[in-house]
Symmetry: C2
DNA sequence: TAGTAATCCTAGTAATTACTTGGATATACT
DNA sequence: AGTATATCCAAGTAATTACTAGGATTACTA
């Protein structure tokens, strides 16, 4: 299992043509991950799906893990962008409805990425090869920016470090779970309502 | 990647000698998983570490995933057994201290499995090959028995389905995260205290 | 103690897969 | 137009790895 230890793309595409193959490769990798899982994703298959030669893949990425890392990066960007858009509309809401609306928006953003998020959460190994070491070391906290963004709006007063850690962790992991592994016999909407009730108790106190 | 789709051991060991190799293989697999990660765990390496021939492994397991599944199963059994022992002492505690004590016990049980738990959580792919399909379909809820056990003692009144789902999910995922990926700059004990405060608010109401 | 079944091991094989080589083709630049 | 450079690809290779065949050894049984 000879693996490259570089993480970044070998070189950045300069011409428009190569930018297209670069993107096609990332898009193809996304598709293959969704349909075949991490273990079933081979570099040859990615290149085939993208419609380019295998060597082109290695022109831009040092190895399989690098391109998968890029796919994750792109997904994170999409989620954050979407959330920023959606969260903008929450400003006018009254305090009582804010928490639930906020949680719903996060849920929907995650839901849009469901098939990919599922593979990333359950199959892609969490290792230095895949995630840059300077990044947030917790996969669950990849979305922490997203939360800090919303948290400013939602949280009434400054929370302790421990409280903040728990809030971020709970919200992200609960909603991710709900998306990736919906509990049979439970309605997602109802779970979110229940969660927002509890979170309101949490942040506003008894 | 030819994989067997059976899950159970091919045959159960009948003589004492084979029971020993059976256990040695599982123990070896545990060690190799801890030291080399899931991807770096090969069947040959497992057999070597166990001190038996590779064919002996295939005598008792249809493939790599089957033995890994068995390792997970054994870990779950250990955790549940330990918790049952520890939880027994909680009966006399007053209501106010019960929640925190309960969370601490779960935390410690998980902490004892830290190296293995880390690999299982982050690297072992979550697939039908690894987890029996008749088992709880959520990995996080593998420990749900554990929680229901404690919950009877801790929860004051019957909770709604949604509430129960969230409580189980939150407790397990929070404590697992805390064990597997301790947040830098935060004290685990302090986080547990904070969590138990909030959980008390949730279940006892405002 | 002989026969039979269980257990084990050595030495493979076949298939997969990450990755490279060397040259062809397209693009940019002057 | 002509040259340099960027981009692409077909056809490999070398290493890994899951898994097996066939026979040797050990333990039960009568």
């Amino acid at each position: 299992m000879p693996q490259a230890f570089e993480l970044q793309a070998k070189k950045l595409p300069k011409q428009a043509r190569s930018k297209a193959t670069f993107d096609a490769l990332i898009e193809a990798c996304t598709l293959v991950l969704q349909s075949h899982g991490y273990a079933g994703t081979t570099t040859n298959h990615i290149a085939d799906t993208a419609g380019v030669g295998i060597a082109s893949l290695y022109e831009y990425f040092p190895g399989k893990d690098a391109i998968v890392a890029k796919v994750i990066e792109r997904m994170n960007e999409r989620v954050l962008t979407n959330l920023a858009k959606r969260a903008f509309n929450l400003r006018e809401l009254p305090k009582e409805e804010l928490m639930q609306a906020w949680l719903e928006q996060i849920y929907r953003c995650l839901l849009e990425e469901q098939p990919l998020l599922r593979v990333i959460s359950y199959e892609v190994p969490y290792s230095e090869q895949v995630l840059n070491s300077h990044e947030m070391p917790q996969r669950l906290l990849q979305f922490s920016e997203l939360l800090e963004y919303g948290a400013m709006e939602v949280l009434p007063q400054k929370q302790s470090k421990e409280s903040m850690y728990l809030i971020v962790n709970l919200v992200v992991s609960s909603l991710t779970q709900l998306v990736v592994n919906p509990p049979p016999g439970l309605d997602a909407q109802a779970v979110i309502e229940e969660l927002s009730k509890k979170m309101n108790q949490w942040v506003f106190g008894p």
